[in-house]
């Protein structure tokens, strides 16, 4: 068992009076790809934001290495985030900058590299995601998949220790999904990163993840290697891993009795 790079210890989090996480704990091992999965609305992206310090837990602690993320000052937090890269769901590229400038952005902000050195690094990163030829395009000229790959190149520009992927496969065609799966795996292995993938695309994520946590109802309901989770007998895990329409996660949003609702008049 390798050392944990990120530790979430007894974290609870509530937003607008609604409990999102209730005393959850998990470890993200160094050098591995860990997936955080669960049905929509279980707070997977919220968990990413807790890991990066964009949100603070109501109780408990989040550790990155030895540093407790939720007690750091803003300045220390910005410093530690240079060791993290994050791939946002829609790429979050800066629309006024070209692909080249987007990837160069973190280098210009945090390093004193010469222009020729920045050029070399940017071209290397773009080559890694297969978009060196698109360096002069603006984000509005890219397809969704290309934008995500550029965002990935930008996320690895500073050679981070940890990279977080927020729903990387959502809305991609099968070819691009395959490209992204391959890229995430290769980047993790070649650059010796630690990766966290937040996703609900079971087959793609399970194909590259070393370890999976399944979240539901504010708790970790399942954890283990992908092959073990498929056989897990927890009903939440079963329903999620096998994509069952109804089960412990109900098909219907909570509502009053259907017949009573139909018969009531004068109400919306």
């Amino acid at each position: 068992m390798s050392e944990a790079l990120v530790r979430v210890e007894n974290v609870s989090f509530a937003h607008n009076g609604r409990t999102i996480f209730d005393n959850i704990s998990l470890n993200i091992e160094q050098g591995k790809i860990t997936a955080i999965m669960g049905p929509s609305g279980t707070g997977k992206t919220t968990l990413l934001r807790l890991l990066t310090g964009q949100l603070k837990p109501s109780s408990g602690h989040v550790y990155f290495g030895e540093k407790c993320i939720n007690t750091l000052s803003q300045k220390e937090l910005y410093k530690i985030r240079r060791k993290m890269g994050m791939l946002f769901q829609n790429g979050a590229l800066f629309t006024h900058l070209t692909v080249y400038e987007n990837v160069a952005f973190p280098l210009r902000e945090h390093t004193k590299l010469s222009e020729s050195m920045i050029r070399d690094v940017v071209l290397l990163k773009l080559e890694a995601v297969g978009l060196r030829g698109a360096r002069d395009l603006y984000p509005n000229e890219l397809s969704g998949g290309m934008a995500r790959r550029v965002a990935l190149a930008r996320a690895i520009a500073l050679d981070p220790m940890l990279i977080l992927y927020d729903e990387p496969f959502t809305g991609q065609d099968p070819i691009l999904m395959g490209v992204l799966v391959k890229l995430i795996k290769e980047l993790n292995d070649i650059l010796q990163l630690t990766s966290i993938i937040v996703s609900h695309d079971v087959p793609e994520t399970a194909s590259i993840a070393d370890y999976i946590y399944v979240l539901a109802g504010g708790h970790v309901v399942g954890a283990g290697k992908p092959q073990n989770l498929v056989a897990d007998d927890n009903p939440h895990v079963q329903q999620f891993m096998h994509g069952l329409a109804d089960g412990v996660v109900p098909f219907h949003y909570p509502a009053r009795d259907f017949m009573a609702d139909l018969l009531s008049s004068g109400e919306k």
Partner: protein, 260 residues
């Protein structure tokens, strides 16, 4: 009755909360330091976007307002046979009131709305979050240069507005209606006081610049990150800053007239 009191109380509290948030936002932003190598580049970029790109509307409006004041002034002064005082009338109206106020209103509509929409859209597309995740503070990188750009642009645009408006007055009064050019300019020179008129006008425009830019940048940063949210934020920027400009203009004029 109780419900009405509750409603008023809630409204009062929400206004106080919003003003407090906007105040904290401004104080946090202006103490941020972007990297020294970027300061000038970022400031120049926002000065160009807020200031230079507002020049056409400011110049065209300035010329027309100067021409209208010249024409109206000539007709009034002609009744008393004192058209030689036209220069004084145009200059004082423009430098004291029309210049700062109209420039501020035009700036709110042209640059303020653009600032709000730009920042709101950056928020909606997670660009500000991405920046934070890269360890770059959006307050220093995005908000501060835009605030400073607005603070500097508005007084400069006001000076340009006043200059072209006076030229517009000259165009109508002297070139078209035949007022004596010497009388037009010498009466203007004699009656316009640098401290009481020009400096006070610039103080007004500086205050308006701060208020409009603060409002625009804050509304963008606080916008609900949806298409509707950004649309509302942009509308709020123009409406609130226009009302604040007109309200503050009265307060500042009263203070200046009262010998402040």
């Amino acid at each position: 009755m109780i419900t009405f009191v509750q409603h008023v109380g809630r409204l009062g509290l929400s206004i106080c909360t919003e003003v407090g948030r906007a105040g904290l936002f401004l104080s946090k932003s202006i103490w941020r330091k972007p990297r020294s190598s970027q300061k000038l580049h970022l400031l120049a970029h926002t000065l160009f976007n807020s200031g230079v790109l507002s020049l056409p509307i400011i110049i065209v409006s300035g010329v027309f307002i100067g021409m209208v004041v010249g024409l109206q002034g000539f007709n009034i002064l002609n009744k008393f046979s004192v058209t030689s005082e036209l220069g004084q009338m145009v200059a004082l109206s423009v430098v004291r009131e029309l210049g700062p106020v109209v420039t501020a209103l035009l700036f709110a509509g042209r640059a303020g709305s653009a600032l709000t929409a730009e920042i709101g859209l950056m928020k909606a597309t997670e660009q500000l979050d991405a920046m934070e995740m890269m360890g770059v503070d959006p307050l220093g990188r995005i908000m501060l240069p835009r605030l400073l750009g607005g603070f500097i642009s508005v007084p400069l645009l006001t000076i340009i507005f006043c200059a072209v408006a006076i030229w517009g007055g000259d165009l109508i009064g002297v070139k078209w209606l035949g007022v004596d050019g010497g009388a037009f300019w010498s009466n203007m020179q004699n009656s316009v006081d640098f401290r009481l008129d020009v400096v006070n006008g610039l103080i007004k425009s500086a205050v308006f610049g701060v208020v409009i830019t603060w409002m625009a940048v804050y509304q963008g940063a606080a916008a609900v990150p949806t298409a509707e949210g950004i649309s509302h934020a942009t509308t709020r920027t123009v409406v609130y800053s226009s009302l604040l400009v007109l309200g503050l203009d009265f307060i500042l004029t009263a203070m200046m007239m009262g010998g402040w």
